[in-house]
């Protein structure tokens, strides 16, 4: 349970960091909060020859909120993003999801951008990025580029980032009028990995449902967003037949058995949690529309 021997680098600027990663030619791994990477090093599931610690890079700990988007840098800790009042107002889904991310002690150190690019199917933040259609900004010696959520997730623990790229920030759209969101999970203890979790967004116009979408945690494909509006399109938000969306979800969201839950139980959770989350998001949307 100790990391294998490695070389440690602590660059002081982005230029130095991307230069180093280019020179290391795939042998370097970026270290930010380390709450997923360090256990993988200790269990030797990962054994990079070089670690590039980005904790000394300036400017990556900033959170910015504009009229159009919320932007958080690669060194913003979950705890700070969760407590950020401006983000809470501009895109409430962020705090709704982050309160489910691990325990406070882990959130103090773990970064939200790191959690997204770690691309763990049992993590909440990749689902948030996918559902909101956010973008990831990455840097390398070739300059900076943006990767849209739909192009980011390749598979479990795998993204379309190149080996010499550093994730520098995530951009999420702010909540639009008539939108509501919710995150509902079942976990064995509060803060543990969800057996199943669902992250949803509902849009309501003039009291009627016009959009109902969901992304899943520990179920479905990483980065997949489902559209469940068909059974509820045009229905009044307060009494839409959400159960039909739950049935639809249980029929299309792929689930796997593991030591914690059978596939049948997971599928029931998908059904039940989807209904609960959509109903909560609709209530959230009408509250927002009423203001």
């Amino acid at each position: 349970m100790k990391p294998s021997p490695l070389r440690y680098h602590r660059p002081g600027s982005i230029d130095e960091a991307v230069g180093l990663l280019a020179r290391l030619d795939g042998e370097g791994k970026v270290l930010a909060g380390g709450q997923s990477l360090v256990p993988m090093l200790s269990m030797r599931l990962a054994a990079p020859a070089h670690l590039v610690d980005i904790n000394a890079l300036p400017g990556l700990d900033r959170v910015e909120v504009t009229d159009a988007q919320v932007r958080f840098g690669a060194l913003v800790r979950h705890t700070d993003l969760l407590a950020h009042a401006g983000v809470g107002v501009a895109q409430p889904l962020v705090a709704q999801a982050l309160s489910h991310v691990a325990h406070p002690t882990i959130r103090n150190r773990g970064t939200s951008v790191g959690s997204i690019v770690h691309a763990d199917p049992s993590a909440e933040m990749p689902a948030v990025l996918a559902l909101l259609g956010g973008t990831l900004r990455v840097a390398s010696v070739r300059g900076e580029r943006e990767i849209r959520a739909a192009e980011l997730f390749v598979g479990p623990l795998e993204t379309s980032m190149a080996g010499d790229e550093i994730a520098v920030a995530v951009h999420l759209p702010v909540r639009a009028p008539g939108e509501g969101t919710a995150v509902v999970e079942v976990a064995r203890r509060h803060g543990d990995y969800a057996v199943v979790g669902v992250v949803v967004q509902v849009r309501v116009e003039a009291g009627a449902v016009v959009s109902a979408r969901a992304a899943y945690v520990s179920a479905g494909e990483l980065g997949e967003v489902h559209d469940f509006v068909d059974p509820v399109r045009g229905a009044p938000a307060e009494e839409a037949p959400w159960e039909a969306c739950g049935d639809l979800a249980a029929s299309v969201v792929a689930v796997e058995p593991d030591i914690h839950a059978t596939a049948a139980y997971r599928s029931e959770l998908v059904r039940g949690l989807t209904v609960r989350a959509l109903r909560a998001a609709a209530a959230d949307a009408t509250g927002e529309a009423g203001r």
């Binding site: 990391p3 021997p5 360090v38 406070p104 002690t105 103090n108 150190r109 803060g191």
Partner: protein
């Protein structure tokens, strides 16, 4: 601060208020640096992958798992271990006294992590409800007592802190 092209690193950090400088292999976890290099064995190492919470220390005042951090990443930070939270007169911290009062430990292996977690939690929420106390300790594992007495210790520590504040 990097020597031998990064295989060994020299790290400067503050531990319990004292400036320290250590040279350790780059792969050294902060938990091991505290125990083996600084001989502060109050920080216990249980699971070594961030699940049990026994190694919890304060990093710049906030609880963090010392096994989920390389010592090298602690460069320039302030680390507080269980050795550093007792008052200067040699007495017990309110949380430690509460564990004694409530029989919050048996073997004591997990206790330093609980004490650090709860001490920091009460700074943020000095008057928790029973449910909040339960949630506050959800990230730490104890294999002997069960959690009732530890939860009682959270509430008792809150009482003791309030009494200290009014003295």
């Amino acid at each position: 601060m990097t020597t031998d092209e990064g295989l060994d690193v020299t790290v400067r950090l503050r531990v319990n208020g004292v400036e320290r400088e250590i040279t350790v292999p780059a792969r050294t976890l902060l938990s091991d640096a505290l125990r083996h290099h600084l001989r502060l064995t109050g920080t216990h190492v249980g699971c070594e992958h961030g699940v049990c919470g026994a190694c919890t220390v304060l990093l710049d005042g906030r609880p963090a798992r010392s096994c989920l951090m390389l010592a090298a990443s602690a460069q320039g930070h302030e680390v507080t271990t269980v050795e550093g939270i007792s008052p200067a007169d040699g007495g017990l911290h309110a949380v430690q006294q509460a564990f004694v009062d409530c029989h919050g430990l048996q073997c004591g292996f997990c206790t330093p992590g609980f004490v650090m977690t709860i001490a920091a939690y009460l700074e943020e929420n000095p008057d928790p409800t029973e449910d909040e106390a339960t949630e506050a300790i959800a990230g730490n594992l104890c294999r002997c007592t069960g959690y009732q007495n530890i939860r009682s210790a959270v509430l008792r520590a809150a009482e003791l802190r309030r009494a200290e504040g009014t003295e």
